[in-house]
Symmetry: C2
Subunit: 153 residues, 2 copies
DNA sequence: CAAGATTGAGACTTCAATCTTC
DNA sequence: GAAGATTGAAGTCTCAATCTTG
């Protein structure tokens, strides 16, 4: 056990991390909304749904991939279904469950939104990162994730 | 102009960045709530308020430091005032404005919450980062921020 | 009773509209 | 009219409670 406080460099890194996240996400959200009438949550759901090998996913599986709570996903799917972006039908063999599918409208939305979104991520985030540091950064963040998955609290 | 897509390494880095943020923030929020009955938003407001050299801040100045919208801050201050964490009084010289101050209860809350929060940030984030990479990481993120501040969209 | 999923209430954020004082 | 700040409505997230089927 060490002193609880962050040292100056940690403080700088941590505050910069938080600011980068809020700045980039804020701008990405506005860009997506204006250009494609999608929220970031809509976008993430559609990405996971359409990048899946299978044509449909169960809510629990989708929640797992998004790392969302079931309840959050359920509310989100209700809103997206209302707007015609996804479908819910009964699971073919498990009467307790459902199966989620992107509608044609959902596919069109994600196909038309993806290039602009990816371009924005590159412009807002990666333009500030030297090419040679992208791989080390990915590694560092993946190491943090690995550490996190080993602890409960 | 290049291809709009992210390459594999960028994709890895970006997804890891998002996951680290949501994982860490989710756990920090639960820790703060359970140990100190504060939300992350409460915590951030109190930090800015109590780390200020002056005893009070105007809402616009506080919003600037938090990088929050005025409206968000106003709602947040209403909730915090209701719970006795901050005070709003009329600005001494500018009749349009206000001045915000942490109450004694607010000071106690932040003093008692800060060590546990800092410890959690270190454990959840920095334990996964080699000491020699903290400074380069801070630099990298600050460079991204600098780039961001130069662009509008 | 477990698992899969939804629901409703309450807290939080955003946007546009509003109010007051300079 | 512009600046400082608040308000209300609509959308979103979390938590606990609930419903249905295995």
């Amino acid at each position: 056990v060490q002193t609880p406080w962050l040292d100056d460099t940690e403080q700088r890194a941590w505050r910069a991390f938080l600011r980068v996240h809020s700045q980039v996400m804020g701008r990405l959200a506005r860009q997506l909304q204006e250009d494609s009438d999608l929220s970031l949550a809509d976008y993430d759901v559609l990405v996971r749904l359409t990048e899946s090998a299978a044509p449909t996913l169960r809510p629990s599986e989708l929640a797992e991939r998004l790392q969302w709570e079931q309840s959050r996903l359920s509310h989100q799917l209700s809103r997206m279904e209302r707007r015609g972006l996804v479908w819910r039908h009964d699971h073919p063999s498990d009467g307790r469950g459902l199966v989620i599918e992107a509608t044609e409208r959902g596919w069109q939305a994600i196909r038309s939104a993806a290039p602009g979104h990816a371009e924005a991520v590159r412009r807002l985030f990666f333009d500030g990162v030297p090419a040679a540091e992208v791989e080390p950064l990915a590694r560092l963040l993946e190491d943090v994730l690995r550490k996190l998955s080993e602890t409960d609290d």
